[in-house]
Symmetry: C2
Subunit: 260 residues, 2 copies
C-alpha cells in the first residue's frame, strides 16, 4: 500500500465546501469519485483544510492510500479527464504511511480579494467580495498590526467551531498580514484590494472575520484601535462581520516539519 | 425623446452571445429587459459589437431611446438591481438622436488569453483558452507582423460572415498586435499569454482565427512565414483554427469621429 499526497486547486463556486456531505456537491466527493474511477479502488482522501462553501483553493493538500502502481508524477495528468474543470490536481508525490496532512506543523496563507468601485466587476465577481466604498489601506495596515503574533483569537472565530466547542485552544500565531490595493487597469474607477494572512493555523471562519473586520476599518466604520479591543474581548460579537466566502482562497500550505 | 449611450461589461460564459435570440439567454435580451423594467418603457438597444456565444466584454457600447428623465450619470447605479451579476452598465451619457454605435468610425481592441501549462488553471478556465504546450512568443511576434496594416482578411473570417455573403469588403486595418507572456505567480509551472489586437473593424470570428493561427505558430505547428501565405491566399482553409470563444474579450471601443 502506498500513500500519495496531492495538491489540488479548485474554484469553489459550485461546491458546498471541501468536506464530503452526502447528496451535496463537494470537492472531496469529486476527488474521491475521480480517484476511485482512475484506480478502480474505493478511495477516501484525507484533506488538509476543510474550506467552506464557495471558498477557493490554489493548493489544498490531501493524501490517499492505494494499491495502484500509477507513478505519482503522472497522477496530475491521469486524473484530469475524471475531474470537472473547476478542480485540478496540480502536484502529487509519495509519502510515508504515517504522513497526515492535518497532523504536521505547517504555515498557511489565505488571500482575500475585494473589488472596490461603483459597480461590481462581472469578470471577478466569483472570486472577490465587493465594496462600493473605497478602502483606506493605511488604516487597514494599522488595524492589522494588532493581530500579528500569538493571540487568543476567540473573537475572530465562529463560536460553532468544533475546536472551541470541544474546549480546545483558540491561541494561534499570525506571522504576517499583507494588504495592498491596485487599480484595475481595464475598468475605469475600479480597484482591487488583496489581504494575505499567513499563520500557523486558523479557526473556523477566522480569515473571513479578519477580512470583514479590516474592511470595516478600511471603509471608515471602525477606527483601527477598535480591533485591539475586539481581540482582547475574546467575544465573537466584538469583532467585525464574516466577509463573503467567494473572496477567500487558500493560497499556500508549507509543511515545516519532516516532510515524509 | 433622448438617446442614451451605455458601456457594458459582461462575463459571456452563460450567454448565447450579445445579439438577441428568442428563447435564449443573451446579453442584449437581459439589457432590454432590465432597461424596460427600470423605465417602464419597451426598450430595444442597438449594440456596437455582436460578441459571440461565450465571449466576454469590458466595454461593449449600445444606445437606446427613452422618454425617461433618469439622469445618464445615475443609470449605471440604477440599473444594477435589475441586471444579473454577470452584466453591468459601467458608464452612460446622452448622445444625439442620430448617433449609432455601428455607423461611426472607431478603433476596437480585443484581447485573447491563453493559459499554458500541464493542467488548466481552474480559476481562469472561464476566461482563457488552454494550451498544454508552451508558446514561443518570439515566433508569434514574427507571425503577427504579417497581419499588421491594411489587408484583405478573407482567410481570417468565417465564410458565413454576413458582410462577406452580401459581397462586402474583407479589407480591414490592424493597427497593432501585442503579445506577451507572464508567469502565473500563484501556480507553479503555469503561464498566461495575452494577445491584444487593435484595428478599425473585424470580420466574423476574425480575432479568434488570428488567435488560433498565432497559437499554431507559438506551439511550433506552423512556421511564422506560413501566416503570410495564409493571408495572401484569401481562403479561410489556409489560416489556422478558430480559437475557443472563452479566451476572447472585447476590451476597448474608441470612437474616433464626432462623438455626439
Amino acid at each position: 500500500m502506498r500513500r500519495i499526497r496531492i495538491r489540488t486547486a479548485y474554484d469553489g463556486t459550485n461546491y458546498c465546501g471541501f468536506q464530503i456531505q452526502p447528496g451535496m456537491p463537494t470537492v472531496e466527493g469529486e476527488l474521491n469519485r475521480a480517484l476511485s474511477e482512475l484506480t478502480h479502488e474505493d478511495i477516501n482522501i484525507i484533506g488538509a483544510s476543510r474550506t467552506d462553501s464557495g471558498v477557493h483553493a490554489l493548493c489544498n493538500v490531501a493524501v490517499f492510500d492505494t494499491e495502484s502502481r500509477i507513478p505519482a508524477d503522472r497522477l496530475s495528468l491521469a486524473i484530469s479527464p475524471f475531474l470537472p474543470g473547476d478542480i485540478r490536481v496540480t502536484e502529487a508525490d509519495e509519502v510515508s504511511g504515517e504522513w497526515h496532512p492535518r497532523k504536521q506543523a505547517c504555515i498557511k496563507t489565505y488571500e482575500y480579494f475585494i473589488s472596490c468601485g461603483s459597480f461590481e466587476d462581472p469578470m471577478t465577481r466569483l472570486y472577490s467580495a465587493f465594496s462600493k466604498r473605497d478602502l483606506n489601506i493605511e488604516k487597514m495596515h494599522k488595524a492589522a498590526e494588532y493581530l500579528i503574533g500569538e493571540h487568543d483569537f476567540t473573537s475572530f472565530a465562529n463560536p460553532s467551531s468544533q475546536v472551541l466547542m470541544d474546549g480546545g485552544s483558540a491561541v494561534r500565531t499570525i506571522y504576517s498580514i499583507e494588504i495592498e490595493k491596485k487599480k484595475k487597469g481595464y475598468l475605469e474607477g475600479l480597484s482591487e484590494v488583496r489581504i494575505a494572512v499567513t499563520g500557523n493555523g486558523f479557526l473556523y471562519n477566522m480569515v473571513r472575520i479578519i477580512a470583514g473586520t479590516l474592511i470595516s476599518v478600511g471603509n471608515g466604520l471602525w477606527k483601527p484601535e477598535r480591533v485591539k479591543d475586539a481581540l482582547l474581548a475574546k467575544d465573537r460579537t466584538k469583532a467585525g462581520p464574516t466577509a463573503e466566502a467567494k473572496g477567500l482562497r487558500l493560497s499556500r500550505i508549507e509543511y515545516t516539519g519532516k516532510e515524509k
